[in-house]
């Protein structure tokens, strides 16, 4: 092993983690501002494969290069915790749509003693925050954005063009431009998180063909307090997703909308993030079990500085909404709530 790798492994030994439980999402957040030391960036570079290093250099500006370096570092160091392996030993492939998957060292060497191949992950990043979500036995998607991101085009025109009609109508009712812009970003991250969780690209799943409804719900607040290790917003909302009639009628093997668990949160005062994960298959398909499963949903969040240390991400993080058990929000309720806006 190269000296830098040995140092990295020794330093990160205490950072190994137990696997996420079923119905649990682990969220690892890296704030680039926390990386003050250029030596650290060099150590990160040494973790990467030569292909990854080449890809970084393909970007023609330093900001993108640094972002890519941190992105690969976050993925490698995060996954390595669960496998108790050297971050640089991981290899990656993609599914036929380009969604990244990890190949564990034991799989490569033919060692059958432990194969964490049911670990799923997804990465998202903006200039000021990178986040990696990890689950076991369940597809996961995440999208993070800067909450107050300015759009260069008219927001409503974008929504009318790309979002569902219901979502565009809902957005149009917000009179305060800041609120409308933040709601746009919430919808955008929710939609992206779903598409990324599916991992089949946007051609299979046009943004217009599925629709999110957010509705204030006291029940959402209590569920969030149970589910996440940060503050739940006092006006937390339930999140419901529905397919358009077109999407519902084609591709019968598509996982139903209500079997996806969504979580909307602000990992910091400046950011908005959505996480999407599958609900586990119940042993029987009745609603009672669905509620039980939903009660088990948990998300743990950390603020991490790879190779250095982690802390629970509680300060400054606020959970805004989540999916609730099917019987809590029926479709007729959703229609009523939209009328109230």
């Amino acid at each position: 092993m190269r000296p830098a790798t040995m140092l990295a492994t020794a330093a990160s030994h205490h950072l190994f983690r137990p696997l996420p439980a079923p119905s649990e999402v682990h969220l690892w957040c890296l704030f680039p501002d926390d990386v003050r030391d250029s030596k650290l960036m060099n150590m990160y570079q040494n973790l990467l494969s030569s292909d990854e290093q080449k890809k970084i250099l393909e970007a023609n500006n330093v900001k993108t290069q640094n972002e890519r370096l941190l992105a690969r570092t976050l993925v490698r160091t995060t996954l390595a915790r669960y496998g108790m392996v050297d971050p640089s030993s991981l290899r990656f492939t993609t599914n036929k749509f380009g969604k990244p998957k990890v190949i564990w060292p034991s799989q490569v060497e033919g060692n059958n003693s432990w194969r964490p191949n049911s670990l799923c992950f997804n990465l998202s990043h903006t200039q000021s925050l990178l986040a990696c979500a990890v689950t076991i036995d369940s597809e996961v998607g995440i999208d993070v954005e800067e909450k107050d991101r300015k759009l260069s085009r008219n927001l409503m025109a974008l929504a009318r063009r790309r979002f569902s009609p219901e979502e565009a109508d809902w957005l149009s009712r917000f009179e305060d431009p800041t609120q409308q812009q933040q709601r746009f970003m919430q919808l955008w991250t929710l939609k992206e998180a779903y598409v990324k969780a599916l991992g089949t690209g946007i051609s299979e799943t046009p943004l217009k063909d599925f629709s999110f409804a957010l509705k204030p719900s006291f029940h959402a607040q209590t569920c969030l307090e149970r589910a996440v290790n940060c503050t739940a917003h006092s006006q937390a909302e339930s999140i419901t997703m529905e397919f358009s009639r077109l999407m519902a009628s084609n591709n019968k093997s598509r996982i139903p909308a209500n079997r996806w668990q969504f979580l909307l949160l602000q990992p910091s005062p400046l950011h908005i993030a959505s996480v999407c994960t599958q609900m586990h298959q119940p042993h029987s398909p009745d609603d009672e079990n669905l509620e039980e499963l939903n009660k088990c949903f948990r998300m743990k969040m950390w603020r991490t500085l790879p190779l250095v240390g982690d802390m629970n991400l509680t300060e400054g993080a606020v959970a805004l909404g989540m999916s609730l058990p099917a019987q809590e929000v029926s479709s007729s309720d959703t229609k009523t709530s939209l009328k109230q806006y």
């Binding site: 970007a59 085009r153 690209g201 046009p206």
Partner: protein, 129 residues
């Protein structure tokens, strides 16, 4: 102008069909006359002159607030060269749709990752204006 005389009434339909199949791109002035005269060709679909497409596409990109105009070129990749992310790309596609009076379906929009992709898409679209 010989071209204008050739596209006389009895031959209009044939001319339009030929234009579509051969993707003939005559020069500006003649093209203007042909378009005016061959109504059927216009209804069936005509292709924009490529150099005009290039100019207009570059102009749309440069006027995007997130983009550094100095980095815009015919080959610029949205992610690598212009540092755009997926939401920026959606905005770019929308700006292109407005510029050329097109609707680009999500599946096609998802493949547009560079200036060249935009130019190719618009230049080969029969209804771009």
């Amino acid at each position: 102008m010989q071209a204008a005389r050739r596209a006389s009434t009895p031959l209009r339909a044939l001319h339009g069909a030929l234009l579509q199949r051969l993707r003939v791109q005559p020069t500006g002035a003649a093209w203007g006359v042909l378009r005016a005269m061959s109504g059927e060709a216009h209804a069936q679909g005509t292709y924009l002159d490529r150099s005009q497409v290039v100019d207009r596409v570059l102009s749309v990109l440069k006027s995007n607030a997130k983009v550094d105009p100095a980095k815009v070129s015919e080959t610029a990749s949205f992610q690598q060269d212009l540092g755009l992310d997926s939401l920026d790309e959606v905005e770019v596609v929308m700006a292109i749709e407005e510029e050329f009076a097109l609707e680009i379906p999500d599946a096609e929009a998802d493949k547009i990752k560079s200036t060249r992709d935009v130019i190719e898409y618009v230049a080969s679209h029969p209804r771009a204006k």
